[in-house]
């Protein structure tokens, strides 16, 4: 079976892997590179828990053909903290009880990170829109929306 070399940056570090034909990015991250932060949910793009950033844009890792990230920058939850310091989104998720079972959390965090990098001061509607591709079956979404709005404030405070 054909195996293709693919090189890309993962959370700032150069990676080189061999991928099997048809392999998706989620498999490559989890099985190939041991980054277990993006989760496997539905495998059909509907649940959003595998959301990662590719060149700053949210993408579903399960629907991303591995070859297509060659030469690009992939970011996952593993890359969110700054050393020992959690990302403002992670702090805000904890303090607003935005995670219950936690399965959707990595996808929510990355979808929210993509939003805050473009829109540091988003409206509630923009937050709802940003996580519209991510399903949560526990929280009813309200604590997640509150956490993202809170994180936006924390980020702005940290930056100033």
């Amino acid at each position: 079976m054909a195996r293709t070399p693919v090189e890309f940056r993962l959370n700032g570090a150069e990676k080189a892997v061999f991928v099997e034909g048809g392999a998706n990015l989620l498999d490559v991250l989890r099985r190939g590179l041991g980054d277990m932060t993006p989760k496997y949910g539905c495998g059909q793009g509907t649940c959003g828990t595998c959301t990662v950033l590719v060149d700053g844009r949210p993408q579903l890792a399960c629907l991303t053909l591995a070859e297509t990230v060659a030469g690009r920058e992939v970011r996952t939850v593993a890359g969110l903290p700054d050393g020992a310091e959690l990302h403002p989104l992670q702090d805000a998720f904890m303090e607003n009880f935005a995670a219950q079972c936690g399965y959707c959390t990595p996808g929510m965090l990355m979808a929210a990170a993509a939003l805050l990098e473009r829109r540091p001061d988003p409206s509630r509607e923009e937050v709802v829109e940003a996580i519209s591709g991510n399903i949560c079956r526990c929280t009813g979404y309200e604590p997640i929306i509150a956490a993202i709005l809170d994180a936006a404030q924390r980020r702005r405070r940290r930056a100033s």
Binding site: M1, A2, T4, E20, G21, G22, A23, N24, G43, Q44, G45, G48, T51, V54, R57, P58, Q59, L60, C62, L63, T64, L65, E67, T68, A111, A114, L115, V128, E129, A130, I131, S132, G133, N134
Partner: protein, 269 residues
Amino acid sequence: MGLTVETYASAAEAARALAAAQDARYLGGGTLVMRAVNYGDQSFRRILRATDPALGRIAAQGGRISVGAGVTMAEITESRELGFLAPAARAVGGPAIRSMATVGGNLFAAHPYGDLAAALLALDGRAVLADGREQALDELFAARGRGQQPLVTAVTIARPERGAFRFRKVSRVKPKGVSVMSIAAWLPRSGGRIAGARVAYGAMGPTPRRVPRVEQALEGRTLDAAGVQAAVAAAAEGLDPPEDAIASAWYRRAVAPVHLRRLLLEEDG
């Protein structure tokens, strides 16, 4: 898996490889192709893709605009040139789908998908093939599913007059449900009266389709309650919409006039 991925630097090479292949699927953004791969779809063994930058181009072309087949929904929403098309691009999936989903893939997405394709159809969309030939989108949709599809490199569309293009997607879950139906209307006016309307529906047939009876009923009319009456009455005439988990055919027919009326009169709802 056991699939082979072939990456071509030019769209022309990819088109030739696709034309010669029995067992290949072209990959645009991959949101539907990779879904099939993940499900273990055995109907193709090779994935063909092209990294040709021409596929990602948005360019003015006389009175029309050429949108590369590889342009994503996210790129449309960010394009100044395509501001009028942003509502239709924004109607496709959530943000992560939109940063992957391409124009080319939307033309071939099976029901209930194809929201953007309906908008392109209403805007007199023409598919540009790798050999430079053009095909009207009505013809492309009519031929869909019959034999190997040629590679589309771009779609050219009319540039609507300011305020003359309208789009609305009807879904049960907001902001990101699949379509009960989508409606796109290009309503050019001359002396306050509609001249040369093009109206297209998504999710009301196996592919996006125009609704000629609605278009005829709008000709020479004004966009007010009396003017749109005949068009609204014809909204579901002759249609045989699909049944699916989102809506029955009966429901789709029953609500089409309501949503067409809202679109034409720009009412909320």
